[in-house]
Symmetry: C2
Subunit: 227 residues, 2 copies
């Protein structure tokens, strides 16, 4: 169950590990301030928590230097991400939640402690490789699926792509995409790119034509389609 230290870990500690993983992208250093911002808490609280996580050997830490995850800490963080994304799949696929409604609930569900539960859930869902936002779901060994993807903004005129993920997870963005039928799996063709403001005109399969701001095209992941 508790891979490594027999010390139990609280939901709060788990959230810190996830935050550090996110900041460091798995390896590298996270600053106190960056963690405080990610956790929406004060730097002083982060300093306290850093000591706790360090005592539990979940992070490496030297005063004034920033922190990095230990192997054990990284495994735990990836487990958390696996749980979070599997629950998101469950909420969307089985309970028919919209993709902008699931994050908050998964944020709670990810802390349910039962290895068997998550493996059964994975099986029940058909071992999905990506969550409803297109983010990869690490397998039981912690390996993330990889995929050739680029930002929509990197496509050139006349190129075709399939939407496979979002680079921003805000409710506002997700609801905007829904409204525009820019859902995962949608195929689009870039018609023209306006140098003036970086916006682009695209066409969907049903011939709908849309103009997307550069902010939108920079937050959508697509897979190039060779014609």
């Amino acid at each position: 169950m508790d891979s490594g230290s027999h010390n139990s870990i609280s939901p709060t500690e788990e959230n810190y590990l996830k935050a550090i993983f996110k900041i460091t992208a798995g390896a590298g250093l996270a600053s106190t301030n960056a963690i405080a911002q990610e956790m929406e808490t004060s730097p002083a609280s982060v300093s306290d928590m850093i000591k706790r996580l360090s005592r539990k050997h979940l992070i490496d830490y030297e005063k004034w230097k920033g922190v990095s995850l230990t192997k054990e800490g990284r495994i735990l963080a990836i487990t958390l991400i696996r749980r979070h994304r599997l629950w998101e799949v469950f909420l969307v696929e089985k309970l028919h939640f919209a993709w902008d409604e699931v994050h908050e609930i998964a944020e709670q569900l990810e802390h349910i402690a039962s290895e068997k539960l998550i493996e059964r859930l994975d099986e029940f869902l058909g071992t999905p490789k990506f969550d409803p936002h297109g983010d990869p779901i690490p397998d039981a060994e912690g390996i993330f699926a990889k995929r050739k993807q680029v930002l929509l903004s990197e496509l050139n005129a006349l190129e075709t792509g399939v939407i496979v993920g979002v680079h921003e997870h805000s409710t506002a963005f997700l609801q905007y995409l829904d409204r525009m039928d820019l859902v995962l799996g949608a195929v689009l063709k870039v018609q023209e790119i306006f140098e003036y403001d970086g916006s682009m005109r695209i066409e969907l399969e049903n011939k709908t034509s849309l103009v997307l701001s550069s902010k939108v095209s920079q937050h959508l992941f697509v897979q190039r389609q060779k014609p």
Copy 2:
């Protein structure tokens, strides 16, 4: 969301409300000692918690007198029971857990706060009326399904009954029942009752004959079958 008081309620507080509901069966008084036993904690801690719950108007309390749930506290307790039992159905029906494995996990899942989640789950499960142990699941208005049931020990010789629930939820008992094929829905006929120790011989549909101790027959709920 928070029916009534805008004050948030912690998982611990929720567990206390469930304990008080269980002791009082919805109405009546619960003593400090009884709550301490149910919560597996000290009477001193219970005294502290009683003050907190009283301040939040979830229980009525006068020193030295014992506590009772307010309307709001009772609604919350029933909501918890609803969540717990719905999750147990999910774990058994969808994730194929055994009935003796689900309590601990449901004990965690019941604290996930999202009204929409539980209503969607209910729908997904087909609005079940009873959980895997035969306990009634209150509906969204807090109404428990009722059912004519008696303890197996109340049946007379030659009477027939269907197993509909258990009156004890220990792992040992549930696993014993599994081993004996005494599962929910099993039909049995009382063949004879031994006055010596109150044990009874029963026959299952597949003609298996078993002798059950009085301890077993006093912890199994059955529905009488008119022949």
